[in-house]
């Protein structure tokens, strides 16, 4: 077993409390942190190859490097995306509940590197208990002078609760929501530029990404690179849910074989049934048929080569009894419900596809309906402000292409 980077304290009782967390080395990285310049810290994160763990996998250092140099009167913000809502994903919740001080330690380090004086944690509204844990940890950190006016670096951290909108996991929608608006994604700029919150340059990073930063500072970028693969260095909290014997979250270096992970750590498919398919990293990823799982490894490159994406690393396991059209209907209902409604192809497309598939499942569909589902998918792809509609389209196309017979058999007429 490898030495874990972010899950080290998950099994330690009361690890969410400052005293316990500290006795296990939390906040030890701050000494090294403040002995270096902010630019050196950014450089270390760049060298480590740390990639965003919220689903996109973009290099964290690249996001940090495009922040402008600080100017008086213009604040910089750091926003932690804890709006974990991708179906099949429940990894950040483990950090928020079990090791909130690791997150705060990472926020301090990242804020120092980015010249941030106020960081926001945007947490999904449903996470009442994790929010409570994080708020308690923030309060403890203020009282102990780790953050706030009594501290060396005088950082403020504010926990901000969402209120049930999947789209707010999209970073620009999240920022709109944080500004007190509807969670509508923003148009993306042509060139590289930072995000903007309250009209000030901002970095948005996922919980697990920021929780990986203290390790990089303490052990060095090379130590981080010693985990995982060349292009996907480090570890990730991989999730297992669905028809699996041991559902849960497991920290592994990138590059582990997917089948091995499912069988050895996950204990295999539940009730001794056959594996039918895997959704590799949240519902927006293309579905993988069981017969190719053996050649897939858990890193961004391998998943891409095999026609899917690593996403959030939250795998949904389906056994032989699952009806693929029914599973797809479930997700279409999800996307229909969660579309923010800003762009017509997405708002109308998700509902239209949902209705067509309902008709097919009721036995009233025709083969043309399946073609229509594919056509609508193609119409939705690439014609909207954010990647929500393309995600629905990719998902739908992959389900139909991987298991066409299951769809056509429903269209006897």
């Amino acid at each position: 077993m490898i030495k874990p980077i972010v899950s080290r304290l998950f099994q330690v009782p009361n690890s969410h409390k400052l005293e316990i967390a500290r006795s296990h080395g939390r906040y030890d990285s701050l000494k090294i942190l403040f002995s270096k310049s902010p630019e050196e810290i950014t450089q270390m994160v760049c060298q480590s190859g740390l990639r965003g763990k919220g689903g996109g996998g973009a290099p964290t250092g690249d996001k940090w490097k495009i922040m402008p140099s600080p100017k008086p009167g213009i604040p910089h913000y750091l926003v932690i995306n804890a709006d974990e809502s991708e179906p099949g994903t429940f990894k950040d919740r483990q950090i928020l509940e079990k090791d909130p001080h690791l997150l705060i330690e990472g926020i301090i380090a990242s804020s120092y590197a980015l010249h941030v004086k106020h960081a926001y944690i945007y947490i999904r509204g449903e996470y009442h208990f994790p929010a409570q844990r994080v708020q308690e940890a923030i309060n403890e950190a203020y009282e102990a002078g780790i953050i706030g006016p009594k501290s060396e670096f005088k950082l403020d951290i504010t926990l901000h609760r969402g209120a049930g909108a999947y789209i707010c996991g999209e970073k620009s929608a999240l920022l709109e929501s944080l500004e007190g608006k509807r969670g509508h994604p923003r148009l993306k700029p042509h060139g590289k530029e930072p995000e903007w919150l309250f009209e000030a340059p901002t970095v948005v990073n996922n919980v697990e990404t920021i929780a990986s930063v203290p390790f990089i500072i303490q052990e060095g970028p090379d130590a981080y690179r010693s985990y995982g693969t060349k292009d996907s260095p480090g570890t990730m909290l991989f999730g297992l849910s669905g028809h699996i014997k041991n559902p849960g979250i497991y920290e592994l270096p990138y590059g582990v074989n997917m089948l091995q992970f499912i069988q050895e750590i996950g204990g295999g498919v539940r009730d001794n049934k056959e594996l039918k398919a895997v959704v590799p990293g949240g519902s927006s990823c293309s579905i993988l048929k069981a017969d190719i799982i053996h050649k897939v490894t858990l890193d961004y490159e391998s998943l891409k080569r095999n026609g899917s994406t690593l996403g959030t690393g939250g795998m949904i396991i389906m056994d032989e009894s699952v009806s693929i059209p029914k599973a797809m209907k479930n997700l279409l209902e999800f996307y229909h419900h969660e579309s923010c409604g800003q762009c017509t192809p997405c708002r109308e497309g998700t509902g239209w596809m949902d209705r067509i598939l309902a008709k097919v499942l009721n036995g009233n569909g025709t083969k043309e309906d399946i073609q229509l589902l594919l056509e609508i998918s193609n119409t939705m792809n690439g014609k909207t402000i954010c990647v929500f509609a393309p995600a629905v389209a990719t998902m739908a196309i992959s389900y139909i292409q991987a298991f066409p017979e299951e769809f056509y058999v429903l269209c006897a007429k």
Binding site: S85, G88, E126, Y166, E179, G180, S241, A327, E333, C340
Partner: protein, 159 residues
């Protein structure tokens, strides 16, 4: 007396003001405070928050109606939210919902006549390893089956 933040919420509201550069950013936190106090976002609440945040009533309503967790109608003492998304469906959420419908005599979106239970279907709660998961008010109950659900309901009904 017209509705307003009580002393506790007023103190929380005041503590939040310096944490944001403008009042509009307090919209979500304020809606949460209101719902915590009154249980739902009533029309008086929308008007009150508009005044406090220097926004229009339409702005507050547009935001409150965007986010599914803000109740625009009163809910029962126990708001039972059943996760319906893929992992929970694979784990048997349909059986859980059926059992709840039968036991409470209501369908999703409804409240029992005595005002004690509201049933809602929700999208992924982020508790996929604990499928099927339900959330009652603010508490998650994971790995539910019919027996544990009926036990839980009995406890709530006695309360």
């Amino acid at each position: 007396m017209s509705k307003a933040f009580d002393e506790i919420r007023e103190a929380k509201f005041q503590a939040l003001i310096p944490r944001y550069p403008n009042l509009q950013a307090l919209t979500l936190p304020s809606l949460w405070l209101w719902q915590e106090q009154y249980g739902w976002i009533c029309p008086e609440g929308v008007a009150y928050l508009a005044k406090r945040l220097k926004l229009s009533v339409a702005q507050i309503y547009s935001i409150a109606s965007f986010y599914t967790m803000f109740n625009l109608n009163p809910v029962g003492k126990y708001h039972i939210q059943v996760c319906k998304t893929l992992s929970c469906m694979l784990g048997g959420s349909e059986t859980i919902l059926e059992c709840l419908e039968k036991n409470l005599g209501i369908t999703p979106g409804q409240t029992t006549q005595d005002g004690r239970f509201t049933l809602t279907q929700v999208e992924c709660l982020g508790a996929c390893s604990g499928a099927p998961c339900i959330c009652i008010n603010e508490t998650y109950h994971e790995k539910m089956d019919e027996a544990s659900l009926l036990n839980l309901l009995e406890d709530l009904k006695r309360d």
